[in-house]
Symmetry: C3
Subunit: 241 residues, 3 copies
């Protein structure tokens, strides 16, 4: 029995990981699905990356979790990297699921193609409260390309505007991921075009982990909606010793 903590991506909350968590629980594990500061109902959309990371550090402390398999999706990769840097003693393994892997001093926007930086340009995209939203056509074609239209629409309805500061703030790390002793895995969905395949998640970002375990699974960036059971199986295989 392992302890999984699943950290969601931008525009999501922990709730959207629950169908995946249920399958992992059915396989005999314990699973927590916290929501990062900035994405909780009522949170300020001016929340920055340090506060986001701190909210998960605090969550692990409040629940006194140790021996944790800490998984992060997409933007959640920024967060789990920061958490592992601060409380490595709580972590058994890091699992990145099509997630960003920052080195010290990098922000999320440093890791995406110029087109995306423009898409979330504060002057253009800010909804007035410091948050940005993903346009539906991009969501439907490039994020949840393996689902039908109804699933794409239903899932889009669950999203919340995301605090832009968490894309702009540079992370502060004592050590870059490749140099730490914590074991690491990377789960790559082979049809994930949230990053264009000419500028891909894997191996461009995954290899910043140094020695790591690769798992690949069919699916889009939003496999948590389109096939949570397949995702759960991949996370369990990625998380084992």
């Amino acid at each position: 029995m392992s302890n999984f903590v699943l950290v969601h991506g931008a525009w999501h909350t922990g709730k959207e990981f629950e169908p995946t968590a249920e399958v992992i629980r059915a396989l005999g594990h314990r699973v927590w699905t916290p929501t990062i500061a900035g994405n909780r109902p009522g949170d300020s959309k001016r929340t920055g990356l340090a506060e986001a990371i701190k909210s998960i550090v605090d969550y692990l402390g409040e629940h006194d979790l140790s021996d944790v398999i800490l998984a992060g999706h997409s933007y959640g990769g920024m967060v789990i990297t920061g958490v592992a840097d601060q409380v490595p003693q709580r972590i058994r393994r890091l699992v990145y699921w099509n997630a960003f892997v920052p080195n010290d001093g990098e922000c999320l926007n440093d890791l995406v193609p110029p087109l995306y930086v423009g898409l979330f340009d504060p002057a253009l995209a800010d909804k007035g409260d410091g948050s940005v939203m993903l346009p539906f056509p991009i969501w439907r074609e490039a994020f949840i390309n393996d689902g039908d239209l109804e699933t794409a629409q239903r899932a889009y309805g669950l999203l919340n505007p995301h605090p832009l500061n968490t894309f702009l703030d540079k992370i502060s790390l004592k050590a870059n991921p490749a140099t730490t002793q914590i074991p690491k895995s990377y789960v790559n969905c082979t049809e994930d075009t949230a990053m264009p395949h000419s500028y891909p998640w894997h191996p461009r970002l995954s290899e910043k982990l140094g020695l790591f375990r690769l798992l690949q699974v069919r699916g889009s960036h939003e496999l948590c909606f389109t096939d949570p059971a397949r995702l759960a199986q991949a996370l369990v295989e990625a998380g084992r010793d």
Copy 2:
């Protein structure tokens, strides 16, 4: 119920798409499988790209087809790009299946590696009537690598010499594919080595579509012969809204 029009590749006719079309029909859709000018029995092998495109534009008009999911395979990507440029009002979505994606002024031979241009050099390859044929060893190893020898031989026997002008003529477009409003999908067979994987179909050509939906499926460039049901399923998922 959707309207699928499947546009074949070089050396093929619409007939070779029929096993795929039958599966799509069984899933509840209507499917047409025209043959492009230059590949119909008796057509001049001096046929050029403009005439090839016009033949499919005319076909849509003669059958008064609208709300069409227009799919093109390989060379068929040149053709559907031209068709969509001329009669966008008839098209609901473009689906490229390991297909060429030209911008205005490009010809097919601009999009293949130098080795292939040489292979179809007029001086060397022309069969005397303006057509070229694909040598069997290349067909067997690089085009239909997922089939057994008998399937490879049977399918090769169905091919017809292809009008070389359609590889050499530069396409004339009012707008490049990435800039048009028609939704687009790209189906990538993961074992398709008709383009070498160092110079691949996807993402090299697919990303010329701008925002597009990716589907990937196991199989070679000739999945229409080796597993038409698998191809049909992929085309339906690529074609839905």
Copy 3:
């Protein structure tokens, strides 16, 4: 009925190919699983590449094998390339399974990333008898990433120290693989990170074969341990005419 000869990789012997061979035999073929000189019990760990190649040439001669589908895994690609250069008349097809493809004058260490050359630096890695061993963490995460820990440990226990000279000796070939008339296939396990995916087996090494048939199959570099039946099926499809 075909004649398969399976040539293992570094640190392995022919015995580790037996579960795969059993499945190929059950499909109606004959299979031999020799052990390369340098990896047999009692062999000198100063064995070089020429001697390694000669041991398989001799094996084919002693068993008077012809019409052979000669398959090589990893380092075994160096060996089968040399064997085919010396006794092409015995070979029906070469099958490379995530294997090195050398041109004349190249050694294995010329084909791996600088990190790996350092890992097997004689001064650091030599166990005193001319052999090197793969550290378990690299084996577990990058070689057998699709297995559970127990499988990884059991398989690691079967390995033998590998003669470093076979990585350093430059191969001597009459002709480079791309220029020979022997048909060739490449089986690529899609989760094989023994070579990093930024510097991959396929297409970086596979395309040195010139015209070749690609097969891809889910799995790690050590699919012979984690799913020998899946590997056997791929080798049979790669080996057929």
